[in-house]
């Protein structure tokens, strides 16, 4: 739709007619990203790209290491969803010791699910309350000082506090199962290294009813924000796409283990219950020269048509139902809202994220009553294999871990497709859509540029996963003409201080 904005007309570039605007780095996303716009003399956007400017080859780093280190080592990929990497790697190394998901002891399977629900809960809470609520509550073009969690806490103290507590609860689930709030252990080849003690289980049970209530409130809030700003929320950064996710064998929403389902723009099922161990036949990745992030696509449909979206919007769009009642009721309402088979609104990522938040809370409540969590039957073993693949629905979408080992148990090959990478084409499409529909032809101001970030943030991209870079930096906008001369510069420091001026 907006592909024409990926690369500007070379003639215009050559003629020196375009000026460059860089949003660098995109703030309130994890990792280091940068947006550049090429504008012509009328401020019409000629090119818009989301670049990943830094890359560390994690796959190289783990080559030569023993496979049992993987679940702990890969957690270093990401400060936000380490548990997703931990579990995806664990599923892969289960296969290396000859254990398929169906053979995992029920206690280990349930403990991992509990751990994963805790992870998704805390990640979704973090994203919504800390990173997105400032935009959603104050408006995308609001004064820059307003757009932070600090302002949210000041103006909506209850909401802010509930967000903090929801996140904290998810972290406590993680701590009880894996020993630490971040970077614990837990999953080992063929199972788990500990069960929950009765005391730990009871500790988590204390607050779960309240957590469900707060998750409902968060969902209501997002639903209200979305539906009271129509049609803006349905249209902003919106692109029609295919969706990829795991589902349960019965078609229900699934986060830990299932088959791959792909639906197209009209909601037709293209692929269903596909064994993820065959993913190399399903998906390929394209490399483009201007960014380090690859562009995955469905092999059968080719590079141009094969791109798809993953994450909460994909999962809620793709599943037939959700197997917890409150989240299911919310899903039904959500689908009705769209008026067609699939909801393509990019800002609906926020809505579906909160539906999943509620699903996680409900699922934790059910799981905590399961006596298997206290069982000591935690590990099983089979025949050693030389290849293992683990796929999981991480908070941001489908996550693939794939390893090969030699006869000495050493990793010889690794391939990871992280969720954010799968959304690469889509994020670029959304950036181009915003550039074309909202920015083009207008004088660029910081609030206007925030629109670009809002579009990117809807995907909750974890650029640290995608690039293996860590840390948040101040926001920098650069207006550069086509010869590379700096025309104007805006810097926002992480403390909110705002400096304007060319030098």
């Amino acid at each position: 739709m907006y592909e024409y904005l990926e690369t500007a007309d070379p003639a215009l570039v050559a003629a020196g007619k375009l000026k460059r605007v860089a949003v660098d780095p995109v703030s309130r996303v994890e990792g280091h990203g940068k947006v550049t716009l090429l504008l012509d003399e009328d401020n019409k956007v000629q090119q818009a790209r989301l670049h990943i400017v830094e890359f560390r080859g994690f796959e190289k780093f783990i080559q030569g290491r023993p496979y049992w280190e993987l679940p702990v080592m890969v957690q270093r990929l990401c400060g936000i969803c380490p548990v997703s990497h931990h579990l995806a790697a664990a599923k892969a190394i289960d296969q290396l010791v000859g254990v398929d998901p169906a053979n995992l002891p029920p206690a280990a399977d349930k403990l991992r699910r509990l751990l994963h629900f805790g992870q998704v809960l805390q990640s979704h809470a973090l994203h919504f309350f800390h990173l997105s609520s400032p935009d959603l509550l104050f408006g995308f073009e609001s004064e820059i000082g307003k757009r932070s969690i600090v302002s949210v806490l000041a103006d909506y103290p209850d909401i802010g506090l509930q967000g903090v507590k929801l996140r904290k609860y998810g972290q406590e689930v993680i701590r009880m199962v894996s020993g630490k709030r971040i970077h614990g252990t837990g999953a080992i080849p063929g199972g788990m290294n500990k069960a929950l003690s009765q005391a730990e289980r009871d500790y988590l049970k204390q607050d779960i009813a309240q957590i469900v209530v707060w998750a409902q409130a968060a969902l209501q809030l997002v639903t209200k924000v979305h539906t009271s700003h129509l049609p803006y929320y349905d249209n902003f950064a919106t692109i029609r796409s295919k969706y990829l996710s795991l589902t349960k064998p019965n078609g229900a929403l699934e986060l830990y283990h299932g088959g791959i389902r792909v639906k197209d723009e009209q909601g037709e099922t293209l692929v269903d219950h596909y064994d993820y161990c065959d993913y190399p036949a399903l998906i390929r990745e394209e490399v483009r020269s201007w960014t380090y992030m690859k562009f995955p696509y469905l092999t059968a449909l080719g590079k141009a048509d094969g791109w798809y979206r993953v994450g909460p919007l994909a999962r809620v769009n793709n599943c037939d139902f959700i197997d917890t009642p409150l989240a299911e009721a919310a899903r039904v309402e959500f689908k009705l809202h769209g008026g067609e088979a699939m909801v393509h609104s990019t800002l609906a990522f926020h809505w579906t994220r909160m539906i999943e938040l509620l699903h996680c809370a409900e699922s934790i409540e059910i799981l905590l009553d399961d006596p298997d969590l206290l069982s000591s039957d935690l590990v099983t073993k089979g025949e050693k294999r030389h290849e293992g693949i683990g796929v999981i629905e991480a908070p941001r979408g489908t996550l693939f871990h794939h390893y090969q080992i030699d006869e000495n148990d050493i990793v010889t090959k690794a391939n990871l497709i992280v969720s954010t990478t799968s959304n690469n084409t889509a994020m670029n499409e959304s950036v181009r859509q915003v550039a074309a529909e909202y920015l083009s032809g207008r004088e660029l101001t910081e609030p206007l540029l925030n629109n670009l970030e809002v579009a990117i943030r809807a995907y909750d991209p974890c650029l640290s996963c995608a690039t293996h870079a860590v840390g948040k930096m101040p926001l920098q906008l650069e207006l550069v003409d086509a010869e590379g001369k700096l025309v104007d510069k805006l810097i926002r420091h992480s403390n909110g201080e705002f400096i304007h001026g060319s030098e």
């Binding site: 023993p66 702990v72 080592m73 020993g179 000495n408 148990d409």
Partner: protein, 279 residues
């Protein structure tokens, strides 16, 4: 010969043939060490156990205890040196605690906590060392070897073999395996040998045993190395009765400011981090 010596103001009895570090341990007094191990012949390479004995610098793991010795272990100077020695060990190899399977069970890490080591101080060497994964049950990760010689001694003295040796000097020092190919698979080590289990760091590991102990059940999760290193019964008696102190006259002017059972840190250093949940 037996008698009593005085360590940081505490009267420590010893029996015939004990070194200072052994006498200290029997009395529940911890002197940091890495190349020493109870029941092993002294080696004296890491220098972590350096103490002042009657005013002269000595390694507590090699010096025989003698009646009337006055030993200073917890002085700010000695603690400072120990911290630096530990930091050198960290920068010389490649020790990444967060993804190391020995984390929580590692003596080097525990000593670093005890020394209140919060950074590396020295620039990292990024040594290029290879992994030997050739043996079906035992892994050597040379990145984590601190050349304490314990595996060499274990193989020779306890297992009656000669699987390991240390070759080279200075930065070229390396652990070598006694086999035609230099690979562990061609040596006569077996997974039941003491040499396969003695390594204080994660350099020699039994394969496929990583992370079996959950966080909370690892050796140093709840007790610092100063307690783990001593026998529990001794510590319990001490807690009940307290340390016997030495004759004050003998100590005049020599007892460091921060002496006492739990004052391993120089007063100016920040408190030790809480290691309840490990790193």
């Amino acid at each position: 010969m037996s008698g009593t010596l005085c360590i940081d103001g505490i009267a420590v009895p010893f029996s015939d043939g004990q070194t200072i570090i052994e006498a200290a341990r029997s009395a529940g007094v911890y002197i940091p060490y890495l190349c020493h191990r109870p029941g092993y012949a002294p080696y004296g390479s890491c220098k972590l156990c350096t103490v002042k004995v009657n005013g002269r610098t000595n390694t507590a793991c090699t010096l025989p205890a003698a009646d009337g010795q006055t030993v200073i272990s917890n002085s700010p100077d000695l603690q400072h040196d120990r911290q630096r020695i530990t930091q050198m060990l960290f920068v010389e190899g490649n020790h990444f605690c967060p993804s190391c399977e020995k984390s929580g069970n590692c003596q080097l890490q525990a000593v670093a906590y005890h020394q209140n080591m919060l950074d590396n101080h020295y620039p990292h060497f990024y040594a290029q060392r290879e992994l030997d994964a050739s043996h079906p049950d035992i892994l050597i990760d040379h990145d984590r070897c601190i050349f304490c010689n314990l595996c060499v001694r274990a193989s020779k003295e306890k297992d009656g073999k000669e699987v390991f040796g240390i070759a080279g000097r200075g930065i070229h020092k390396r652990l070598i395996v006694n086999s035609p190919s230099g690979k562990l698979k061609d040596s006569d080590i077996s997974v039941d040998d003491e040499a396969a289990h003695v390594c204080p760091t994660g350099a020699i590991l039994v394969k496929r045993s990583a992370y079996l102990a959950p966080i909370g059940e690892r050796i140093y999760d709840h007790h610092p190395i100063s307690e783990v290193a001593c026998e529990k019964a001794v510590l319990d008696t001490q807690a009940a009765k307290g340390h016997a102190s030495c004759d004050q006259a003998q100590l005049a002017g020599q007892v460091p400011q921060n002496s006492g059972s739990d004052s391993h840190y120089a007063a100016s250093m920040p408190p030790a981090p809480d290691i309840k949940h490990g790193r």
